[in-house]
Symmetry: C2
Subunit: 141 residues, 2 copies
DNA sequence: TCTATTGTATGCATATATTCATACAGTGCG
DNA sequence: CGCACTGTATGAATATATGCATACAATAGA
C-alpha cells in the first residue's frame, strides 16, 4: 500500500534551473497542500525521508520545512514528525469557510496572476488548457 | 508614447521568495516572449535599463541575458542591444509552423504540467480559471 | 529504562549570487 | 575622428545555499 507520505515523496522532484533546492521543495509541498493531496492534519514525509529521496542534505530540507512552518502551512514536532496545519494563513476573525472555497483555488489564482502578468487572455489560456488536457491523455504512465 | 522596451520594463518586477534575481528576470522575459508581447526581432530593454529599473546590478541582469542567449531566445550584440530570436529552439529540419501553434501554448503547457503535478483535474482548473477571470474584472488599473 | 525515530543545532568547506567599482570593446552617428 | 551608447569583463567583498559530519533533545513504544 502507499501512504500519503509515499505519495508526496514520489511527487517531489527537482529541476536544475537555478531555483534553490529548498525553494523548490517548499513550493511543491505548498502546491500539494493547496491541491488537497496533503490534507489538513496529515503527516508529512520525514525530513530525512525527503533528503534521501531527493538526494539532498538534511539541512536543505529543514530550510524548506522551516519556511513552511513560518508560513503557517505545517507544524514541526520533534520526535513526532511534521503535520499539515488545519487552516493555512493567519486565520483571524474569519468564520469557518464563509464560501465553499475550491481546493484548487490557490493554484487557479496563481495561474491567473501569471497569465495576466504575461499579458494574455485568461479565457484563451483556459481554452487552450482544455484542448491540451483532452488531446494528450496518455502522458504519464 | 511607450515603446516595447518600456512595456517590458514596466512588466518586470521582483519577488522576495528566495528565487535568484537573475532567474526571475530570465523567466519573466521568457514569459513575455512566449506571450508575444516581445515579438521576434524586437529590441529588448538595455541591460542597464533593466538594472536601473529593478535596482539591481548590471552583472545580475547580464546573468539573465546570458541565460536567454544560451537558450536561443535572444541574441546579444555589443554596441547595438539585445534582440528576440526569430524562432525559439534549435529549429532543425522542422518545416515552418506545421501546426498553427498558439502563442500562449508554452504557458498553457507549463500550467498543464503544474496542474497534473499537483494531482488536480486540468478541466476543473480551467473552469475555475474562467470563473475567476470573469468575476474579478477590475484588478489592475 | 532502553531504544529507535525525528526534529534541532553546529562547524567547516565549497560554490553561487549579488553588489560595487572600474575598465574594455564594438557600433552608429554627427 | 570623437562621442555616446551597449555589451563584455574583472576583482574584491559579502551573503546565501549546499553538502558533510556530528551531536543534542524530545517523543513514543517495547
Amino acid at each position: 500500500m502507499h501512504t500519503i507520505e509515499d505519495e508526496v515523496l514520489s511527487a517531489l522532484n527537482l529541476r536544475r534551473d537555478g531555483v534553490p533546492i529548498y525553494v523548490q521543495i517548499r513550493e511543491q509541498i505548498l502546491a500539494l497542500i493547496a491541491a488537497g493531496r496533503l490534507p489538513a492534519g496529515a503527516r508529512m514525509p520525514t525530513m530525512r525521508q525527503v533528503a534521501v529521496a531527493l538526494r539532498v542534505d538534511l539541512n536543505t530540507v529543514r530550510h524548506a520545512y522551516d519556511d513552511l512552518q513560518n508560513l503557517g502551512a505545517v507544524v514541526l514536532r520533534r520526535g513526532l514528525g511534521s503535520f499539515v496545519t488545519e487552516r493555512v494563513g493567519p486565520a483571524d476573525g474569519a468564520p469557518a469557510t464563509p464560501d465553499p472555497v475550491d481546493p484548487l483555488d490557490p493554484l487557479a489564482r496563481r495561474v491567473l496572476a501569471e497569465v495576466r502578468e504575461a499579458g494574455l487572455d485568461p479565457l484563451a489560456v483556459a481554452e487552450r488548457l482544455v484542448r491540451l488536457a483532452t488531446s494528450r491523455k496518455g502522458d504519464e504512465p
